[in-house]
Amino acid sequence: MWERAARAGPGATGSPAWLRAAGEDIRAAQAEALGGTEPLLTVQCGLAGGTSALEVRVTVPGRPPVLLVLAAADLRAAVFRGTDPLALVAHAFVARDRPLPPADQLGLAPHAPPRIPAAPDAAGADLAARITAALAAKLDVVVVGDEGSGKAVSAARAARLFAAEGGAAVWIDLRSGAKSPPTVVWELLRLPRHDRVLVVVSRRALVAGFQDTRTIISRLRHAFDLDLRLLTTDTPSAVAAMPALYGFYEQVPVRQPVAMPGQDAAVMYWFACLGLFGIQPLVAVADRRYHPEQLHRLQQRELIHLTAVDGKVYYRLGAGVTPTALVAGQAGLPGRAPPGELIWAYLKMAGADAGRAPLEQLDLVGFPGRDGHARVEGSRNLTFSWELLYRLGEQLDRYCATNPDWDDNVGAAVFAAEALAELGHAEQWRRVAEFVRGRLSYDVPGELPRATGGPTLEEGDFERIQANMIAEDLFLGGRWPASLLGTGVDKARFHSTWMLGVLLGFEGSALERSDGRLDALLATAEHHCAPDGHFYPRRVPWVTARVVLGLCGAGLTYATHDVVRRACDWLVRPVREGGAYAEWWKGGTGSWNRDEATTAMCVVALLRAGAPAGEEVGKAVVWLRSRVGEWTRPGREIDLALALEAILLGAHDWRSSYGRLLNLLSWANEEFRGGLRDLGLPEGTLRAPFAAAQLAALVRVAVSREAAALVEPAPAAAERRPARLEPRLPATAGMRLRPSVTHWREVTRQIEEQLEGQVQRRRAVLRRAAPGGMPVVQAAYDQYTAQLALCRELREKLRERTPIEVIERLVELGDTVCGTGWNGGLSYDDEAGPR
């Protein structure tokens, strides 16, 4: 590659002759890749008029060409680094204005589909046929199935069928670290002409990158009028979690739903979800949830049976019913809540005592060794949380019985009502709701909530917020226009907009819905949402986050509601572009709702709304964790509650927050027991009810995540770790069992990629030097080349039973190349003792 440009010599770099030579090299690279066949996308090169750049035209017959301009600097860098000429064109197509990254960061590599077993079983053949039918009907298709359910193989089989019918298939595997969008273009540039092209993206490991892939494919479709289809694979939980992304896709489930009449299937799904965790539901609870006729019918079909233990009557699943298959077959279908939600609903209906046993079971099953960690003896976090929460509910009940108007603090009353609704305490909820609905008027669409009969107590908080804003302005200088400075902010509008979000959450989760009020609030939110998505005041993102949370409480998400979408987009838009995001979210109100609380609230809002996962949330969670010393200070319980929810929802090691969850529960119980008092702290009057509302949600989220982790190892966690320990087979003399030969091969591939990068970079340097001219680089090149050869040799030796020497040499090589700890718990330290 780049022979002609290199021949022109470094002195000619940037000259017209050199540019023409580089253009010839690009065309030659395409011709070489195609082996003389006609290309799908033709590349033509010429000099850009009046500039020292190369103009590349990418064309298909009958369509106007797409013009790309390759700057001389990028061309020169590509020639020096030995970057594939077509990769340069692909990069220019995808990221026109970005400079060319080093070759090893371009993320391009040819990918092969997984090996397809010679004779597919009936299910595999059926799935491939269903995928093919879906591809014929729609442009974008996702195969939905659990890890290891054969999605990739079926996708490969469908791709082969597609190719057999005259199409071309391009395979992109994101596990290899490839960057999907440039790889798609690069592969298409190397593809002979076909009427139809299928892009298969396996292992959608990077959501952001994957969305870019769909964008680039749409661009290619429009620019070249190509029949370009996209096939990908994902798990049911990921598909359910990203309706905004997968709404455009034809979804092909790996397993067909279990054939059962619709009503019965839903009831059996409920029983199966509880059965997954060994919960035998109380007859009293099942009877309250479902019609007795339905339950009777299931009993007659011997799908469920009655059983009595210690004088209480339960349902248990029939002998032939396997809960795992039932749940897997129906999970993700419309109307099927995640198992964790159903368990939580059951616990609330079952009460404190009946709820303890299943949680103890979750505690015991959920914690040990899924990620290779040892069992934590005595970790009864969920059980303790449940008990404390139940006690908190009782305290809240008692408090609301004597003081349902919360001393005229509507904010506190609303949060208490949310906690009561979450815990299912209908009677007290009704009393508090009566006060809230009477004290505030919010039934006129488009009008922000306003108090009837004079200002409410929490309005006074906004005086203090304004004072904090003024103090911040004095400290940091005037970063805002006059209307947003502490002195210019409209306190009444500020309070009403915040209250709009709070009330949306209240009405959305109401035990007795008032549709008129909820509709009016939704119309008001739509009316008061600025065109760019923020809610007043723009300087205070926590108001927008609060409204998003309220809208989510009303059941709206990023995928379903325009205001949620706009508000979430504004939250993640960088500050320099008029948004709110700056690695984390700044409160804008000084020491009232500091950056930690604001960031946590924004993270939770984005996660609850199901906004497309970008890097913002991950970065913010990392930042939040780095600020743990701030949000765990006494007096900042609101920050703590918010941060805990953000971590529970957003972090892959959410269990680390359980200890603090218990502390917060204990604190809230103490607070209610000792009598609530405002100590002059920010939001002093709101702290306890807010914490109670948060805690109820937190325990629910914790139960849901534990349940989800049991049904399927969390995909995010699986992606972040190189590998997990798997059950081991009995050892034989002189042999050491592998956790999984596939995993070993995966991590060996990591070493190989590292080494390939090292060798490639040095080869590019040595090509520029005379033989023996760079002895130090040459020595390093020789060393890495030898290590690469060794790595490949060891990879070839990885078998079901691998000799111990091979593994030890591999571990040693990995330690040398990637540093200690590279294998993420794959080594045998626990068996072999310290190395």
């Binding site: 020096f80 680094r81 090893d104 590019a764 340097v765 760079m774 130090v776 680089v777």
Partner: protein
């Protein structure tokens, strides 16, 4: 490493050379303008000659700095975070070596010119 290589490695950084060039050029031009507008008897041939010597020194040093800068840029293109420090040094040396002789001559030329200019200073009074 040969003695010459050690010298090449110790060549001043382009930034320093540019700074010196600015200083020399400034001195030369300042000399010219202050003589022209001051009350010391106006411009003399010697003053003009001295100014030229300063500016010539600046020009030669600037050319040397540009050459070294280009070599650094070429080395940066080949560099990578994957490389060890000795490799980086070698890459930098490899890019400097072809232009080192010319750069040294230019720097020496520039310094000679400046020395000449300094020697001429007492004769201007």
């Amino acid at each position: 490493m040969t003695t010459w290589d050690r010298w090449v490695a110790r060549l001043p950084a382009p930034g320093l050379l540019n700074f010196l060039a600015g200083l020399f050029a400034g001195t030369g031009i300042n000399l010219l303008t202050s003589s022209a507008v001051g009350d010391g008897g106006g411009l003399s041939a010697l003053t003009v000659l001295d100014s030229i010597a300063w500016v010539l020194g600046a020009a030669l040093v600037t050319v040397a700095a540009t050459m070294l800068q280009n070599a650094e840029a070429e080395a940066a293109l080949l560099d990578s975070p994957m490389f060890e420090e000795p490799e980086r040094r070698e890459i930098r040396m490899h890019q400097r070596r072809p232009i080192a002789r010319r750069a040294v001559l230019l720097i020496l030329g520039g310094l000679l010119s400046v020395i000449l200019a300094v020697v001429l200073l007492p004769f201007l009074a």
